[in-house]
Symmetry: C2
Subunit: 336 residues, 2 copies
């Protein structure tokens, strides 16, 4: 009993000094979603969370089963005028260019160095894969992490002249916090490179590396003669976490079916279908980019983040389609 | 201020009624390791945990970096007379046999049905892979999970006549709890099939599916005409999480280097090397099976769980080698 009394005293002091350390970190109530307008999207989110967390209710889900998966590009941060990881790769080509004088006349590197987007686009996927190969492979995981960390801390987005990590969506940050405060475990499930995202997801989204699922290349364990092992990123693609790859990645990395999933493009369609196919209450959401002024407006015909078939299915099945322009009071944290 | 006062009242009541809800779940002190004798193994574990959790100390590690990885077979549960997943596969062959009358005369199935271990061993890896193929592939992930769940709830170990999940090591269960109470995140990193282990790791070890890394086969997303998507396990091996595959699996699934790793065989050597190669305080441990009476005794010459090169390296580098016979008061929870 003496130990309990001590515990009480410590807790009372703690609570008086710093507030309740259990509940203070993240807001559990819907007012947490302060950048969401009171519209159908916010209502569908709040209603769903209330249903699955109501102890004894018909839709109650145990905390350990409250798995929420989020696409990354276009869902948690912007993806225009090109996926940010491609901007990283192009900057890295420029950084490496002094060691490769032949790149000045050799495609696709010439196009990158000349900032000739038209020529680059004409080189298509082959050109793109060559750029990924020289910027993402043939180095250790540690060196790759360092190159991403350096870039993400300094590179600036061409339109907003801000760090790329400033271009995260304030309403989605609030949604992640709201879900975690309601004992959801939040995951990123993205077509982007897993080792690229993991450099900053914990700091930016509160999502630790082990809760990030993404595309990856083959990695080899090497133990050089001096005895310090390294992991070497090789030039072979191992797993593409996009489209039908998303439920496969969820199965492989998480091993449970999400009850909540949010995406923004056709690459998220199978993740939403897989989420929807479970039993019990489910939430499926799509961000619809409708706001050319504060962000961008694009959908069925966009090369980046095309939203076409998944949109039709969402409408048909009553999934939540969030209209960026009308559902969000604010897009980026730095906007008024 | 009124809200804080309310919070205080609620906390005081909670603490009085049920004890401190933050600290009560798992014991943080070394007395938690009650099945460990006071010897070098227990001392090295407790010393390490105290060093990395001492706030402001030279070896302090932030909770989010406290990643602990455990091999499964032979480290958390037994692996004799054969890996338990092989016992599952053989039982499943017997279960499926009525639908395959040709198996009565066709190897390797005949050997399984005749319980002819010698013939089976003679068929080697080819025979083994055929058994895995018919028992682990060509079915949906949901059906496979069900077949494992049914088996693990009923199948009994030949020597102890107990459920296989009874053959977990009591001292390791205590170690997992002790680490989690000290804000470690515990992972399994095993050569076993990831979808096999995930069926029971949360219940048995308190390790949720998303913290289990293992070997896997290729899985395909299929959306049949009736519109209910499934994941189909195909006959192709995707990833072997053993030996040098363990640091690769750790990098792929966890994305952080462990500071604590425990194994029992040469298949764990690279995981321990990878753990050791990080900066700051590190713990590397091996279970040495020395107790033929309470469990089994095997090491350098064993076909299952061979401990040879990893043992030499552990001795050379001063890693912890746990002697089952002298370090553990009790092996299995059911033993006195």
């Amino acid at each position: 009993m003496r130990r309990r009394t001590m515990t009480v005293v410590v807790w009372v002091l703690l609570v008086l000094i710093v507030g309740n350390p259990l509940g203070a970190a993240e807001p559990t109530k819907s007012e947490a979603l302060s950048s969401w307008n009171d519209g159908p999207s916010k209502k569908s989110i709040v209603d769903f969370v209330e249903r699955v967390t109501r102890d004894g209710g018909p839709d109650y889900v145990k905390p350990e089963e409250r798995i929420a998966t989020f696409d990354h590009d276009g869902t948690l941060w912007a993806e225009q005028p090109m996926y940010f990881q491609i901007a990283f790769a192009m900057d890295r080509v420029r950084e490496l260019a002094p060691k490769h004088p032949d790149w000045k006349t050799k495609q696709p590197f010439k196009a990158v160095l000349d900032r000739d987007i038209k020529a680059l686009a004409a080189l298509g996927e082959t050109g793109f894969l060559k750029i990924i190969a020289v910027t993402h492979t043939g180095i250790t995981t540690a060196d790759f992490t360092k190159s991403v960390a350096d870039w993400i801390a300094t590179a600036r987005h061409p339109r907003f002249d801000r760090l790329y990590t400033d271009l995260v969506y304030q309403p989605m940050l609030e949604l992640l916090s709201f879900l975690r405060a309601n004992e959801f475990k939040t995951f990123i499930v993205s077509g982007g490179g897993v080792e690229f995202m993991r450099v900053f997801t914990e700091r930016v989204y509160g999502i630790p590396p082990e809760q990030v699922v993404g595309s990856s290349g083959v990695v080899q364990f090497k133990l050089p003669p001096d005895g310090k092992p390294v992991l070497l990123k090789e030039g072979k693609i191992d797993f593409v976490d996009d489209g039908p790859g998303k439920p496969v990645g969820i199965n492989r990395f998480i091993g449970r079916r999400p009850i909540f999933a949010f995406g923004n493009s056709d690459g998220d369609q199978q993740m939403l279908e897989w989420t929807a196919a479970g039993s019990g209450a489910r939430f499926m959401g799509l961000v619809h980019h409708t706001d050319a002024e504060r962000e961008w407006a694009y959908d069925r015909k966009s090369y980046v983040g095309r939203l076409d078939k998944a949109w039709d299915e969402a409408v048909r099945r009553g999934w939540t389609v969030t209209n960026m322009k009308t559902d969000w009071k604010k897009v980026f944290p730095f906007q008024p």
